[in-house]
Symmetry: none
DNA sequence: AATGAATGAGAGTTCATTCAT
DNA sequence: TATGAATGAACTCTCATTCAT
């Protein structure tokens, strides 16, 4: 019984991820999902209240997958800059390892209309530990900038965009390139 | 024969931009446009062949608006780093001055499904002069990185994301903040 | 002035005939006509009250074209069978000479919904002289059948259908074949 | 799961046949079908992929209905002329018994634009046995003509057109009339 | 739990027609 | 006369969702 369920949910979720890549979030419909996952359109409603609920739940699951193991990096017994570096590498690796999921996550983030406001709140809450790390850094005067959004932009945007651009142009990022972008981003906000 | 009512096109375009902000590109429908612009759904077809054509044309117009005046900055009689700085400021100012248009542009760029491939080609061609500037910089060994996508990510992503984030959280970016982000981005790729 | 008009009406009519062939009567729209005839959709309304009026008028004109010269054959100083033969040959020749017009005529006759009832009445009235010939034949006991519809079916249907079938299968009818079908049809209804 | 409601398909098909009679094939729209059959316009899409598919399927069903029992006549242990006579009577009876279906069939045949090319191919294949009978007749030198299209025109067109004309003028054909037309048509192509 | 059937609402689009010049 | 602009109505078709089994 359980197994059957799991396989169906799995199939539905995979269908959503694939359709998001091939047709964009707007092209994700219950009809197409049903065809791709080989289930009835009605079956999706056994697991999800409606479309928004489906995308919201999937988004949160994907978010969890992307964050998995992040705590270890955050609490590493190392210097501040080193810990930020571990965090950046963590996401870089995850984005590369789960391109379909990363693409779906970006699509939702670029278009939050598809999920509930609570989902956005919840997903923001998930980066709480990261915020703590940031506050620690500010307190220690380790950063050249103090506004969180500004720092996040300087630290994460280049790496994220590089992976995204390369994914779109079908040209994989090398570890060497990731390393250089991360180092330069860190240089841009860390004092000395 | 009847004259084209410029107010109608204007109203239609404004409706598209507003709907893209409030509901995302997927929420842009001819019905909603018509209601918002106070015209008949059929009227839009006088100006545009279909939805793809409408978004494509509007995207190119917006792109032109965003690039307007860029040439002057590119050909300024100044050093390389200074000219890159002028370019970054150019876009920062434009994005701030035309938030609705910038949002629409980002939406299309994040989801090129909605426009024709030719549109993508044409819009890419528009940044030719910028590429030239980049090549000049590489030739003069002014940059710490040589891969275009990597440099673009380091230079533009932080500024763009900051404006975007602040727009979403309804908290305007100050010129001071923009200046700091731009300077740090330039520091990240320019040698000394 | 006049010339210009004539050219436009001509262009419109030709467009209708061509569209009827390539897409069927249902595919004839003012938009397509305008594009094909290189006029404005509104121009057609200078000459025709509406779509039904346009098709009705054109149908009658085509009918006249098809009947042109029929009177001569009907009043020929020859025997009854010979005169029927002349009539059959008349239509056979016309249908072959004006395939586009014949096709349009058949389309209307198979689908009288597109024209006004008066048009049907008028076009039926045009075959009055033919009816007279038929009555003359009945009076002289020249025919094996006396019901008009039955005789018409036996006399005209084979020839008409052959031309139609061949037109559809792009294989022209030869004069020899027409001659044989006509002779056999005449044999089928004429006594001895 | 819910069972397919046979009454719904039936109602939809009847609506198509009736609309074809009253407004012609061009007047058959999903909206009108829905109103007449008392279902939602969307329901028709449960059964048919699109309009072309709907007309194609219905056409083939009608064709089967019209041919039903034809095999028995074709393989009758009787002379050639007698077997052709049986075939003609078969269709005459069917056309009279199913006027709505016959009208729809003629409409499609006069306007194959509305169905898929495969449908035309399939429906042509259905008359294979009839072709065999014809070839047998040619081989035995029983016919005065050898071209299939020409023979078909001479044999079938008069009967078909008579029924059609009478149907249009609301005056039923009698068996006596049918018998006479069939006999004369057979006379026209059979040697002695 | 699972699903095919069914549907109202709305999508994009074309149509015949009228308006204003 | 001639026309491009404009439109309400209708079109084909898809959608998210519910129903009945």
């Amino acid at each position: 019984m359980r197994k059957k369920d799991a396989r169906k949910v799995e199939a539905i979720q995979q269908a959503v991820l694939q359709l998001t890549r091939s047709e964009g979030l707007a092209g994700v419909s219950f009809g197409k999902i049903a065809r791709l996952a080989q289930v009835s359109p009605a079956t999706a409603y056994v697991y999800y209240r409606d479309k928004t609920d489906m995308l919201s739940q999937l988004y949160l699951e994907v978010k969890v997958l992307m964050d998995e193991g992040l705590d270890g990096q955050l609490s590493a017994k190392q210097g501040l800059r080193q810990r930020f570096k571990l965090v950046l590498w963590h996401f870089a690796r995850r984005f590369n390892a789960y391109p379909l999921e990363a693409n779906f996550m970006r699509a939702i983030q670029a278009n939050p209309h598809f999920v509930t406001p609570e989902t956005i709140t919840a997903s923001t809450a998930m980066i709480g530990p990261l915020i703590s790390l940031f506050e620690e850094a500010v307190a220690e005067n380790a950063l050249a900038e103090t506004d969180p959004q500004l720092v996040v932009a300087l630290l994460f945007a280049p790496m994220t965009q590089l992976i995204e651009t390369r994914y779109a142009s079908q040209r994989p990022v090398t570890d060497d390139e990731l390393g250089r972008v991360i180092t330069r981003s860190l240089d841009a906000v860390f004092i000395n």
